[in-house]
Subunit: 441 residues, 2 copies
């Protein structure tokens, strides 16, 4: 063959070696297990949606970041999150679903972002939502699930679930008679961490917010800490706004339930400066960060919405959801050396034979071991043992079974444990128990 | 909100209700479990590849069927199978991999086909390949895995693994001095089932194949049956071709190993008319069909190739692989009523309370039950029991736990089994064992 095409992938995509993929899948499995433990059922929407569906909301930065397929008749776009497809799914299948509808979806979403460290164009997301209920119990449960999942992943670093309620800030702006400007104000407040308090204050004053108002807003959003301190501080603000009041009450109720569920105080904080999902969330909001790696941003976020599917149906569907971004989290944990592959393969046992005459015996034993639950690989080439032993060593397969002439004649198998190099010959019947013991250590 | 966008998906995409998705995921899990049992490790390549990579082979029908993304600088295409990405992966990461490289990949591939019954544009595929070995043991193992997986899926219908070896037909054409025309001849033979023997014969004669040659070819490819009959029949053909001989020998060796592994005779057949993957496979080939639903075509196929990554590297990489098309298989099994959802959700237990005062107790019990391994849902609204009971009934949640005033005061829980409607109050400590018993029946 003549010229070769340089084998490479597009920038901004994460592709792992098998040992890392095993780690990654292990994390996905844990997340899925937890989702199911909390009563969520899976759905899987197509990666492609009609552009009309994805752009129903219209405008904004989202549209710029969407991959669109031009050459295929229909105007097709790739999903950039699971929320819009969920909104479409629930509207489309309303009559066939039972509400409150608890669903999870695990898969890939696509963002035509400029790739940079920790930012990917293909993102593995794990989402849960409960659609069709306004109960604040669910707001607490979401935070509990975040805590439960991140704990079960053994991240090797602490994390903080930042909790807030959109009603507090919105109610406060209402009280300051800034409600007409609120979207613009919130958009600016969202930049606080990025551009600093002074720049935000400047921008706000350009929007016609008085310096007194700016000061009040800054005072409010910099209230942080445990729920008691925050509530006490908020009471001192003395705001006459139903929205504000209801936001504070919800926050109180939710954090009480979180405590009952055993979420430790140092794993979450109230952060009133959080804005997130401007035209979307209406109540409780979450963002979770790794304490020592805040630079990579949010690894898990979500919140409550009043009406999920308003663009597709007149059925009113309030709900709440949370999304875990596993690609970014994995990148960060790996970068920081907090996770390292334990195994290059999932194989427990490799069987090898010195001659093809004994292959039949290999096959019998492989069949037996797989039935007993051992992941078993048969080395495809018969002959010298150096090759299969090198293969097992490189892949970290813990046990090699050898069938040579002696073993074959005596109806035995040599069992070689690669961790200590010890080898012993045993009859086939003793194999299962011996392997069980060797693999347990 | 004004006009609504009609909520719908693109045609040619499979989107399931949760109860069907649970079935689908169950099948995927079984396939993955088997892959791992045979020593395969996971990889996950991006859905998007550079068009240059995907089109390296160039030409043919494939290119027409590829989704291409026009609006994003790079010339990007969506993968239409896992084999080309594997070829690229192995070439790119050659030095970091251990050979023979056993990998599985489970995910979606995209084909811009005209959708029709059972044909989808987004296809869930489950692939295994072993790259870097020519051993015929692996050819047999692939057939064994097909048999093992399809058996474990409890399809409710029989299947046939059709096995052949490309060398037999190629060697035969060589022997007939038709080697210059062989690609065109094979392409025509591939249409046998579709257009019938007469039309194929017509086409062949147009290619300059004499009627005597046509007859000989037809005689050869209509040899079918168990390995002994086929080998006997092939011996009678008396062909002096090294290729032909080697094909027959491989077929003999492979079927012997399959037998040793316990694949029953009635689950496979030698079918020399099979052509498949014209410019790709070089040795053993497989196609598996559901006996009673042959019309939907192949549900699993694969074969041996001489050189996987020739377009990307000069490293010679022979190997063998098999691909399961789960989307089509699921469609057919569902259509035929061979699989039906057993559960609408994965939830074992629903907890509900008559007042928010008892929510704290719910939370404690939910936490306890999840730790004990029960998938537990807490009904988010407190109050009347009709709503949670209706919810549990509609979703088929087997057990509802009720905490009302009496239960709360007495430190008990009422356990209602929805299958027989029986309800009994028990202390919290007795809950785990009782649930275990109820769920076991």
């Amino acid at each position: 063959m003549a010229t070769k095409v340089n084998p490479r992938i597009l920038s901004g995509f994460m592709e792992l070696l098998p040992e890392d993929q095993i780690l990654f899948v292990g994390m996905l499995d844990k997340i899925r297990f937890k989702f199911e433990q909390y009563g969520f059922a899976p759905i899987d929407t197509p990666v492609m949606e009609l552009s009309e569906i994805l752009f129903a909301k219209g405008g904004g930065d989202t549209e710029k970041e969407i991959y669109r397929i031009g050459n295929r008749g229909d105007d097709i776009s790739l999903r950039y999150d699971f929320t819009v497809p969920l909104a479409r799914y629930v509207a489309q299948r309303y009559g066939q679903l039972t509400f409150p509808f608890r669903r999870y979806q695990i898969g890939k979403v696509y963002r035509a972002e400029r790739p940079s460290r920790g930012r990917y164009r293909e993102i593995c997301q794990c989402d849960i939502d409960v659609v069709g209920s306004e109960s604040a119990y669910l707001d607490a449960e979401m935070a509990v699930i975040i805590y439960d999942i991140l704990s079960s992943l053994n991240l090797g670093t602490t994390f903080t679930i930042k909790v807030s309620n959109r009603k507090i800030l919105t109610g406060f702006l209402e009280y300051l008679s800034l409600v007409n400007n609120s979207t613009e104000i919130l958009r600016n407040l969202d930049k606080l961490e990025k551009i600093g308090e002074e720049n935000v204050a400047d921008n706000l004053s350009k929007l016609g917010v008085t310096s007194e108002q700016v000061e009040k807003i800054m005072q409010l959003i910099t209230i942080k800490g445990g729920i008691e301190e925050v509530v006490t501080a908020l009471e001192e603000v003395k705001v006459s706004s139903v929205q504000f009041r209801s936001g504070v009450d919800e926050l109180t109720e939710i954090t009480q339930l979180m405590r009952l569920y055993g979420v430790p105080n140092d794993c979450y904080e109230i952060d009133l400066s959080m804005v997130r999902g401007l035209d979307y969330y209406t109540g409780t909001i979450y963002e979770t960060v790794l304490d020592e790696y805040r630079a990579i941003g949010t690894i898990c976020a979500g919140g409550r919405y009043d009406n999920l599917s308003g663009y597709y149906t007149s059925n009113n569907l309030p709900g709440i959801g949370v999304s875990f971004g596993l690609t970014r989290l994995f990148f960060q944990l790996k970068e920081a050396g907090l996770i390292t592959p334990k195994r290059k393969v999932l194989t427990d046992v490799l069987i090898c034979t010195t001659s093809s005459d004994y292959l039949g015996r290999s096959v019998e034993i492989a069949k037996l071991l797989r039935e007993k639950g051992f992941n078993t690989d048969v080395y495809p080439q018969q002959g010298k043992l150096t090759n299969p032993l090198k293969y097992a060593n490189r892949l970290g397969i813990p046990i090699v079974l050898i069938i040579g002439e002696n073993e074959y004649k005596n109806g035995q198998i040599s069992v070689k444990s690669l961790s200590d190099g010890k080898q012993r010959a045993v009859p086939v019947e003793a194999l299962g128990d011996l392997l069980m013991n060797l693999l347990a250590t």
